[in-house]
Amino acid sequence: MSLTTDDVRHVARLARLALTDGEVEELRGELSAILAHVEQVREVATPDVPPTSHPYPLVNVLRADEPRPSLPPDEAVSTAPEAEDGRFRVPRMSHSEG
């Protein structure tokens, strides 16, 4: 498995990481090596083996619909890098989502 720098840049964009050119080049090599290693999983992962996503099997873990106290509003934004009028302030958004 060998990645191109374009592959690395695409993944970095998905992951919202503004990597430097140097990092892109370094990661290209490192990720290629790691991916080559982890590809071994495909040798034994045949479709007849079901995937395990939770190590301890539980189902229907549900909560009663009963309110619990929320944070005081000033506490909610106490951790914010920037807040205004009790809201989290961010630079302008470039597009809409969802």
């Binding site: 229907n60 302030r89 630079p91």
Partner: protein, 491 residues
């Protein structure tokens, strides 16, 4: 038929429409945390480490939201999945606290249902692909510029809405016109209201609708390129947006151009759609099962209990109300506004159907429109309506005075209809002795009119009736007044 028209002009297109509807659930708490759901209040006052996506916080599923999903699925005739899972939909956006949305992906809770709609007297069955559970995002306030995202200087995020449970109902692309889309959305809304799982207000965003619209030449079976249209916040706006989009795509195709696969934003004021973002730039959502959450596996007992508890659905309600002799347009208003709940409570308390229905669809709906509120929010209980109907039925109130009493009740006046009517002196005079005296005075005061009546001019009695009503400030029982005058003048 002329055969000289060009090929382009001869090509006729058929619209293929599917709707994705988000329903905000009216549970007491959010989908994955115990923050209360409510309107208004300070920004970020209904948040906690979980719905703010604070490091280390973990989601726990609200059982009531799961029940709401199953109930809607059962009402739509869906299969309830024996096991369903929550997935993470990964994308970065400031209004999403974790920068992923907990949603359902390949194993949603409800699959394959249907909804019957009637347009122009023709019934159609629209397929439901799936109903799945997810969480809502926060809300951004765009500061600077026009207050829209474009041209704004910065944004302020409030996470009070973040984590409110949503059901997403995805239809098959079975709809063929704006009218059908509107009918589908209205019917889905009626089902949701009947279930009581959401207040389903399109204008306020507790029910939101996106439309996938494509065109194909009539007779073709292959789908055309699909455009997703967003931001319709009323039935009317849905209809307008789809009609506009059909026209736009028709122009594009007629000009020989391809339709671009994209998401378009409906501008209600301008009456046009414009591109929001093109599908080429769409994120790769990297769905995977949320390791913080476990599968939901409703067993047969649970599903059976929920099925047994399902309320009457709108189609059945309509038939039942028609059976009571209510006309179809009135039945439609009762069902679409959700006022049928009030009506049914009043009927249970012994109210006469026609009178009760009239007070709701004429007087209450009119009052709500004048006050700019949703009829469903009007503060009228079935018991109060039944009491008011009783006052009309036994002649205590005229229908005109009943409206005044209703408005007093809706305006928040305490005490109930009878007490209000009495306190305001509105109670109709049906006391024969009391009215006899008034009639005698009125006849004595206008001997000319009395003589005309005696001479056989039946219309002349109107002036005398009017005089009695004036003297009693409108409270005299009109039927009794007529009777007494007749008896007085034709002994």
């Amino acid at each position: 038929m002329s055969t000289t028209t060009s090929v382009e002009q001869a090509t006729r297109y058929e619209a293929v429409i599917g709707l994705e509807v988000h329903v905000e659930l009216a549970t007491r708490t959010k989908m994955f945390c115990g923050c209360a759901i409510g309107f208004g209040g300070e920004p970020n006052s209904r948040t906690c480490p979980v719905c703010l996506g604070m490091p280390g916080s973990l989601p726990v599923v609200n059982g009531a939201a799961v029940e709401s999903a199953i109930r809607l699925g059962l009402a739509l005739g869906c299969e309830i999945a024996p096991t369903s899972q929550f997935h993470r939909k990964n994308y970065f956006y400031p209004d999403m606290p974790k920068d992923y949305q907990i949603s359902q992906y390949d194993v949603p809770i409800c699959l394959r249902g249907e909804l019957r709609i009637t347009v122009d007297g023709r019934e159609r069955t629209i397929g439901i692909t799936r109903v799945h559970m997810e969480e809502d995002t926060g809300k951004s306030l765009h500061v600077g510029g026009s207050g829209r995202i474009a041209g704004s200087d910065h944004s302020l995020v409030d996470y009070n809405r973040a984590g409110i449970p949503l059901l997403e109902v995805v239809s098959e692309p079975d709809l063929r016109s704006a009218e059908e889309a509107r009918a589908y959305l209205a019917e889905l809304r009626a089902v949701v209201l009947a279930l009581g799982i959401s207040d389903a207000k399109l204008e306020e965003g507790s029910m939101r609708c996106d439309a996938n619209v494509s065109l194909r030449p009539v007779g073709h079976t292959v789908f055309g390129t699909r455009v997703e249209v967003k931001n319709m916040n009323s039935l009317r706006s849905l209809g307008r947006a789809i009609d506009h989009e059909i026209e736009r795509q028709t122009r594009v195709l007629t000009a020989g151009d391809p339709v671009v696969q994209e998401t378009r934003h409906w501008d209600e004021d301008a009456g046009v759609t414009s591109p929001l973002r093109s599908k080429e730039s769409v994120d790769d959502y990297r769905y995977f099962p949320d390791p913080d959450l476990l599968p939901v596996e409703p067993d047969a007992d649970w599903i059976d209990r929920l099925r047994a508890e399902l309320p009457e659905l709108p189609a059945v309600t309509r038939a039942r109300l028609a059976g009571l002799g209510l006309p179809a347009p009135q039945v439609a208003v009762l069902v679409d506004t959700g006022l049928v709940r009030v009506l049914d409570a009043a009927l249970a308390a012994g109210a006469a159907p026609a009178l009760a229905a009239n007070l709701l669809t004429n007087d209450l709906v009119g009052w709500a429109a004048a006050n700019g509120t949703d009829p469903a929010d009007a503060p009228l209980t079935g018991a109060a309506l039944a009491e008011l109907v009783g006052l009309v039925a036994d002649g205590t109130l005229s229908t005109k005075l009943a409206r005044q009493v209703l408005e007093a009740v809706l305006g928040g006046e305490p005490g109930g209809p009878r007490a209000i009517a009495e306190a305001r002196g509105l109670v109709q005079i049906s006391d024969t002795a009391e009215l006899e005296a008034v009639v005698a005075r009125v006849v004595a005061a206008d001997p000319a009119a009395a003589q005309r009546v005696r001479d056989g001019n039946a219309k002349a009695i109107g002036a005398l009736v009017g005089a009695v009503m004036r003297e009693t400030r409108g409270r005299a029982n009109p039927r009794l007044v007529n009777e007494l005058l007749e008896r007085h003048l034709h002994p």
